[in-house]
Symmetry: C2
Subunit: 107 residues, 2 copies
């Protein structure tokens, strides 16, 4: 019997995440919205012109996968979904700020 | 007459540098040596087993290109060469420490 092939997705390193987030304008935008306390997808879209639901959801999923943000669903009608920064995401955001500052001071 | 082709090498972004340095064991080693005040290539090699002159020089050149370290040549016989961290390199090193810590606390 052949061995089972397990598909193991290793979480990316923090350095890889940093490059991924910094290299993607929309990821930075969504991260910045959550960091500034905007919790609901609808409110995020109203804040940023050109942010489509598709792009927003993709970026939210990525930030969730990286454990930078977390998601809470409230049992209401209609159901309410909120996103907030994790403890890791808080530190991650601070690193992003510092790297952005490094680039600014060099330019 | 054909237009001159200029080869413009844009400096990498800080995020790219972070990934490059963190992804390369020897770059991290050499950066850590310079950060701890080891100035001369000979002393660096004596400190680290397996660090060849070729690998050391490549990593020093990369750190110089990134302006993380700087190089001073003293007019002595034989000439003395010393490396030290730049102001940028100092802040860059602090960011590297934080990203390494992020990975450690997730594992």
């Amino acid at each position: 019997m052949p061995a089972l092939k397990k598909k193991i997705t290793k979480p990316p390193t923090a350095a890889r995440m940093v490059e991924d987030i910094i290299g993607c304008k929309w990821s930075l935008t969504v991260l910045s919205l959550v960091r500034s306390g905007v919790k609901r997808p609808g409110a995020m879209q109203r804040r940023v012109e050109g942010l489509t639901a598709k792009v927003l959801n993709e970026r939210l999923r990525k930030l969730l996968r990286y454990e930078i943000i977390e998601r809470e669903v409230f049992a209401e009608v209609p159901p309410r979904v909120e996103y907030r920064l994790t403890e890791f995401g808080n530190r991650f955001g601070a690193v992003i700020d510092q790297i952005t500052a490094l680039d600014e001071e060099r330019s």
